[in-house]
């Protein structure tokens, strides 16, 4: 971590809105995309994004500054998403995305349609989608997912296999 980052983190920790804004500028897209991958809903992802950054100054009190800040922030984001999933189980909406929306990656360049992929991901049960997103998109290992989600490595692998099976069925039918 650079000295500059340390300064920004220290300032955000002590309540500087400017420093918090700087952290937001650097990491908001990562947090939002991760939350979207976990929750498959822009609205929920936007709520998580807000909560994470509103709560960040206080949460930074427990940040040991030993690793990459973004890794820690992503871990906090995943846990915030899991909390939200638990509290939302009462009124689960199917958050299908309306149309092909703008992304930073530009227009689709591969044969799997993005809207179809989004729909297929959104149709996955949240327990399967979380493992799929963490493993196949975010690059976590099964061991890390097990720690993060509080499940066994075997369970993580099983969920991933089921997610793949469902996606294959959905997208290849």
């Amino acid at each position: 971590m650079t000295a500059e980052s340390r300064d920004v983190i220290a300032a955000a920790r002590s309540g500087s809105l400017d420093a918090l804004g700087e952290l937001y500028r650097r990491h908001a897209d990562v947090v939002y995309a991760l939350a979207y991958r976990m929750l498959a809903s822009r609205e929920d992802a936007a709520d998580v994004l807000q909560d994470v950054f509103v709560g960040l100054p206080r949460a930074l009190q427990s940040y040991a500054e030993q690793g990459r800040f973004e890794s820690w922030l992503k871990q906090v984001t995943v846990r915030t998403c899991l909390m939200r999933q638990r509290s939302m189980r009462r009124k689960r909406e199917t958050p299908l995305e309306e149309a092909v929306l703008e992304t930073r990656a530009g227009p689709a360049s591969h044969p799997l349609d993005r809207l179809a992929v989004r729909r297929a991901l959104a149709a996955l049960p949240e327990t399967l989608r979380a493992v799929f997103a963490l493993r196949e998109i975010e690059g976590y290992t099964h061991a890390e997912i097990a720690v993060l989600l509080g499940i066994s490595e075997g369970n993580s692998a099983t969920r991933l296999a089921r997610a793949w099976s469902q996606l294959r069925k959905e997208l290849q039918s």
Binding site: A33, Y63, E136, I137, L171
Partner: protein, 236 residues
């Protein structure tokens, strides 16, 4: 267009790419204004910076412990009121012995409120700088509960990510070498880009994995592979 007709691995690669691209969204434009307004209003949001599942388990365990203690105390109290019960005799003996011999005031332990409360980090990530194209990861006296995973990726920097108890291990770095001592559990994930030419992973000085001349040799006593990952089991 759908993925019909694609072979399994091709489909999986395509879907991985598509899923990444389809979910790579930029944060909403008005989000920062809302966040800033909430912060200015003094709103407090408590984020789950620790493992909430574990906290729940601790709570449950604590509840069971308290219930057990109450049961014991209740049972002992009930037994003590019986005139000839061994509990009553034992209490009388202890009470008399203490009165006769120990007249000193009880020691008062004042907790040191200035001492920082140890809070282990949840994750530690370290970037490794190759020396002469080589990186060495050396584990010293790790517990067998430590999971050691080596991942090979296309690009990026070599890095070590430690989660769980491993995040609190002792890390020492030198040119091209990272030593990890006193890892008592958790997961260590060593990520190696394919461009790194020489790699050595050792446990207590014994080679567990090497990469040289484009060839990977797994020398650990036990290992599992899954795709581009190798799980090395710690054995003594």
């Amino acid at each position: 267009m759908r993925g019909e007709g694609m072979a399994g691995p091709v489909f999986e690669d395509r879907l991985r790419e598509a899923a990444t691209a389809a979910t790579m969204l930029a944060a909403p434009e008005d989000a920062w204004e809302r966040i800033a307004a909430r912060v200015r209003d003094g709103e407090v949001v408590l984020l789950p910076v620790e493992d909430t599942r574990r906290r729940t388990t601790v709570f449950t365990t604590r509840g069971l412990r308290v219930a057990g203690m109450l049961l014991l105390v209740g049972g002992a109290a009930a037994a003590a009121v019986l005139p000839a019960s061994p509990v009553r005799q034992w209490l009388a003996k202890v009470f008399n012995a203490n009165r006769a011999t120990d007249l000193r005031p009880p020691a008062v332990v004042v907790p040191d409120s200035t001492a920082p409360s140890p809070r282990p980090p949840l994750e530690t990530t370290l970037v490794l700088e190759p020396a002469n194209g080589e990186i060495v990861l050396a584990l010293e006296a790790p517990e067998q509960d430590v999971s050691l995973v080596v991942r090979f990726v296309e690009r990026g920097e070599p890095e070590l990510r430690a989660t769980g108890a491993a995040a609190s291990a002792q890390f020492r770095s030198a040119a091209g070498r990272l030593s990890v001592a006193s890892a008592t559990g958790g997961v260590l994930v060593l990520t190696i880009p394919r461009t790194t030419t020489r790699v050595r992973v050792e446990v207590d000085g014994k080679a567990y994995l090497t990469k040289e001349n484009g060839r990977i040799h797994v020398l650990a006593p036990a290992a599992d592979t899954a795709g581009s990952e190798i799980l090395l089991h710690i054995r003594r």
